[in-house]
Every structure is written in structure tokens, then in C-alpha cells.
Symmetry: D3
Subunit: 138 residues, 6 copies
């Protein structure tokens, strides 16, 4: 932690962490920001992933559970939920666990936000061939 | 309230309440959730409508006024506003009252959320042949 | 609506409306703002009450239902909920209806915000000798 | 799931789940609601704990991670964070993991909400003799 | 401030202020509201612009900085951010300053809301031929 | 930007920036976090101030305008508003400009959040002997 690093070193360290979570989606966000705010893209990677996400005190799977809760509660973050539901699958959460986390969110955030987040999960699971999570019987 | 009910009994009780409010839109939400989170659909109906909405302490019309206020304030709940502006019409609120409730919301939530909600009302009223609510003179 | 009014005329018109809702609490807010932002106090009265609240398209009772929904959903507005739960009682909502509106809010906003708002109602009802609303049997 | 239950059965089932998480804090909330909204207290227990929290699809520890994320993101839920940071400790999250989840939240919710939540954790940990979590060296 | 004005006087005063900021976008919002809530359109202009924005105590450029911060923090206000990023350019903020204000917002609101707002800026800057703001090198 | 820095170098760089804004309040926050989350305190300084606030693309005065807008809109951030209203004064915003920024916020966030923020300003101005900002005449 105490060795000297350049800005580029830290970006690269963040990219290594991001690659393990969801490198493709992360790269898309950075590319989309390149012409308008490369600095924002830099900090998402170098700070968010390189300095926070990389810490060993909480596992990647646990971080995604916290993140799903936050993005559902914030509202209006459907694009980020898309990225992080993919990431959640990549770090070992099962579709059943993700769906249950969003059901759980209805107790604390109410149904509208829980339903909005669940429809993002439906889109992501559909793209990855993971539907149906449950049979459609009630 | 004290008789024993199965899970299915409670769902059916909720569906009866939902049918009086907006059965078609409710059914669409439940159907959309069937392959991903039938449990969430179950709770929207069995708990939200069967156990809360069904209570006699507040009229359906009054519940929709509270709901319009909440959904406008939360933000990012345009899909739910669509359902509940339809429901508001179904339980007896007039277009003028709905528009006024959203104007009123600008005092407490600011103009951006009030305008967003009013545009959802415009869409719903247009679909139901209720436009113009006002002439366009100022 | 088309007669010419001075700024002071409009403030006085707003105060008349405010007096019917909760003049005492309103006056306290305006007094508290006098040394820092009299302009904000002016607009709460002249615009909020004089130009929006005063309109006939929605009854004062209905406006309070919308307002309770908004303030509960926004969060962090306990001081305003205090004022508006008093106002709600003043314009004819019963304690049972207010409590039910806040129970209803749990479906859309989740339990934490519903519980926070209900504790404000408990404080207001206690100050006005309206407790218990329900016996404490379950 | 299909056996018939009375309202009281479901409340008792919820209390059993709540007792394993944080029965004392839960009982305090229910007691505080008794004179104003016993129905809200009923639903927190019977629905929140009895029907959602009780499900096996997500472990209690995982549910608390999601909940910490939501309560931090919502803001203004310090009282609920107090209950759920206690609950998080009770179901096996370590102080280091809780602190890390709140640090993680700063990436998605910003520093103000992360700092507010961390100060609630400091209060809870202090009451339980768990401070310092870290030495105060930087 | 003390001369008598009609409702129409005040609307016209607001339109003059709005014209200096972004008359075209403002007119579009008012036109869109004409058939559903002309009163809301009136208040956006007559109150928002005529009575608040018009005050000399803060420059138009400074007002847009505050507004960018608010709209980013609220979330779900992409349509309003579009209008106000245009307005910000019109009153003298540079693309670099706008992008930096949104980067700054990530510290207080978190990355998701900062990224959402930055993508709105990218759209607006693209429409006005202002891209790239930065070269795409990192 | 490209020279190699240790973690401690970056913290010290951030402290220099923070000292120019509001070193005393910043130090209090870091001290309060020391026993629970020194890492969070580190990132507030090293990232928030050292890497974002320190950039030349936006002046400290402009950053505070954006920050006042965000903290008012988020709600529940009274402690942070206290720090940043002090900071705003320190970097050259006048009491009149700060009060006006908060009045302006009522248009976009509604009166409750604007009033809450204005009461924080009243507290800060009182502590610094800056009241009354306006005479109490209306």
C-alpha cells in the first residue's frame, strides 16, 4: 500500500480488478466517457475499483449484494443495475439469490423500486439465457 | 380477519381488490414477473392489495391521492405512475383533480418531478381520450 | 385572477389561506426565516399558499393526503411532516385516516420511511391529546 | 406454504424469525407503534419477517448486506441503520465487514451518506464494546 | 417590487428572463403542458423564472451551477438536465466547467448519478458540435 | 500528474487542498472516523480533495455552489451542509449568495428541502456573527 505509484499504475491496477468483475461492461462505460469526461472514467476505474473494490475486507460477492441494494434504493440507475446484475452473476451470485435480494428490497424501498430493479434482472437474465428463473406457476 | 387462510386464499383476496382498481394493469405486471420473480408478483397482490389496500380505514380514492404524491416524490417511477393514474381515474378522481394534485406536488418536490409526473398523466389521458383537460389558452 | 396585485397583496392572500390550514405553524416558519431568508418565507406564503394551495380544483383535505405521501416518500422532512400532520387534522382528516395513509405508504416507500412518518404522527397526536388512536392490543 | 394460517399464526411466525435476528430491537419498534399504528407493527413482523425474511433463498447474513446498502442509499434512515447494524452483527457479519460495506457505499452513494451511516455504526459498535475497529493510525 | 402586476404581467416578466436563458427549450415545455396543465407551465415561467431566477442576488451562471448539482443529485431528471446543460452553455459556462461540475458531483452523489448526468451532457454537446471536450487519450 | 506518489503523499496533497477550504471541519470528520473507518477518512481527503477538488477546471467557489445544490437535493445531509456552508464562506461566497442559492433550490427541490438547508445556513451564520443577513422586514 505504501509503494509509490503513478496515476497510470493506479488505473491499471483498477482495470485488473474490473476485469475480474465485468471487464467488458466496464470498458464500454470508459469508452463512452472518453470524448466527454475521460477523467470520470479514470476515477471509476482507478479509485472505485483500484482503491475500494480491490480491498480484501469484503468479498466481491458481498460487495455486489450491497451494490444491488444501493442501486435499487437510489432509483433511476437502471443502466448501472444492468452492469451490476451481470457483475453479480460473474462473481458467483445465483439468479435465485439476485431475484431474492430484489424481493427483499421491497420491504425497505417499496414495490415500485423493487419491481423496476427486477425488470432489469429479467432483461439481463434473458440476454444470458437464464430465464425462466422460476416456472411461471404461482 | 382471524379466519385461517392459505397463501392462495390471500392471493385471491388481493386479486379481487386489484380488479376493482385496475385489474388489467395489475395482471400485466404479474405476468411480466412470472418467469423471474413470481414471489414478488404474489406479494404485490396478496400483501399490497389483499392486506393493505383492502382495509376500510381509507377510501380507494384517498389511497390514490397518497400514492400519486409518493410516486411523484420518489422519482424514476414513471411506469408505476402510469398504472396509478389509470387507477386514480378508475376509482373516481377526475382528470382535473389528478392534474391539480401534480401541480400541488411542485410546491413540495420541485418542478422537475412535477413536470415528469404530469407528462405521464398526459400520456394516460391521451390513451383514454381525456385530452385536453384544459383548453390551451393561458 | 386577472386583477393587478402588489407583492404585498399576494402575500396577504396567501396568509389568509395559510390561516385556515395552520396559521400558527406557518407563522413560526416565517418568523424563523426572517433574519436569514425573508424571501423564502414570502414565497412559501405568497406562492405556495396564495397561488397553488388556494386553487379550488382540489380540496384542502385532498391536498393534505397528497402532501403526506410526498413528505413520507422524500424522507428527512420530519419537521414538515409535523406541520402537515397538524394541518391534516385541521382540515378534517381523522387520526385513523392519517395513520392509514402512512401504513399505505409502506407499500410504495418501504417500512423505514413509513415508520419514521408514523412516529412524527405519534408525537403530533400526543401533543393534541389524540392518543391512543388504537388500543394497544394486536 | 399452502397450509391455512390465521393472522396471529403469521405474526408468530414472523416473531420467531425476528427473534433470531434482533428480537429486542424489533420488540421496541412494535411497542412504540402500539398506540398509534399496531397494524404497521403487525406488517413489519408478519409480512417483512414472516413472509420475506424467512425465505431460504438468501441467508440472513446476505440479507443484511443488501439492507445496509439500501438504508445507506435511502438516507434519513439512521434509526433503522441502528437496528440493522445490530442485526448484521447478530447474524455473523464482522465489524470489519460492516465498515467495509459502508466504505464501499461511498462509491455508489457519495461520501455524505457513507459518512452518516458510518457514524451510526460507530455508535452501535461503541454500545457493544467493539471500538476501535481499527487503530487510529492512518 | 411593489408595483401592482396582473398574472399576465408576471408571466411576461418570466418569459423575458427565460428568453435570456433558453427560450426555445422553455417554450417547448410550456407547449407540451398546454393541453394538460397550463397552470404548471404558467408557474414554471411566472414564479420560477419571473420571481426567483430574475433576482439579482445570484448570477445566471451561478444559478446553473447550483441547478446542475441539484438535478444530478435528484436522479431521474435527465429531461431537465438536457434543458439546463443547454442553459448553462447559454449563460457562459464552458463545456469543460460543466463536465468538471459533474465529475465533482461523483464525490457527493456517487458514480451512478454522475455518469448518468455526464451522458446527458454528451448528448447536448454532440447536438451543439462541442465534442470532443477532451481528446480521447487518457 | 504522472509522478509516482505513495498513499501518504496523496493524503498530504489532499490535506493541503482541504486546509484552504475548511481544514478545521475536515480534521474533525477525519478524527471522528479514526476509530471506526480511517480508510473512509483517508479517501475523503486523498481522493475527494486531493484528486477531484484540487483540479483547476472549476474554481473552489464554483465547486461550493454545485455542492450546496447537491446536499440540499439529497436531503438528510445537514451535517455536511454545515461543513460546506462554512466552506462556501471561506472560498468567497457571500451570505447573500448562499441564501439565494438555497432560495433557488426551492424551484427544483421544493420548499421542504430548501427550508431545511436554509435553517442550517442560519445556524452557521449565527455562529460566525453574520446574522441578520436581511433585516426582518418583508
Amino acid at each position: 500500500m505504501t509503494k509509490a505509484e503513478t496515476r497510470q499504475d493506479r488505473f491499471e491496477r483498477g482495470m485488473q480488478v474490473l476485469d475480474e468483475v465485468d471487464g467488458e461492461a466496464g470498458q464500454r462505460v470508459i469508452d463512452s466517457l472518453a470524448a466527454i469526461s475521460p477523467e470520470l472514467g479514470h476515477h471509476v476505474v482507478a479509485w472505485g475499483f483500484g482503491e475500494v473494490y480491490s480491498r480484501q475486507e469484503l468479498s466481491p460477492r458481498d460487495r455486489q449484494l450491497v451494490t444491488l441494494g444501493m442501486l435499487t434504493a437510489l432509483g433511476g440507475c437502471e443502466a448501472q443495475l444492468d452492469v451490476h446484475i451481470n457483475a453479480a452473476l460473474n462473481v458467483g451470485l445465483t439468479p435465485v439469490e439476485i431475484v431474492e435480494a430484489l424481493l427483499h428490497s421491497s420491504v425497505y424501498c417499496g414495490f415500485p423500486k423493487a419491481v423496476n430493479a427486477t425488470f432489469v434482472a429479467k432483461k439481463v437474465f434473458g440476454e444470458r439465457g437464464l430465464l425462466p428463473v422460476y416456472g411461471d406457476e404461482r
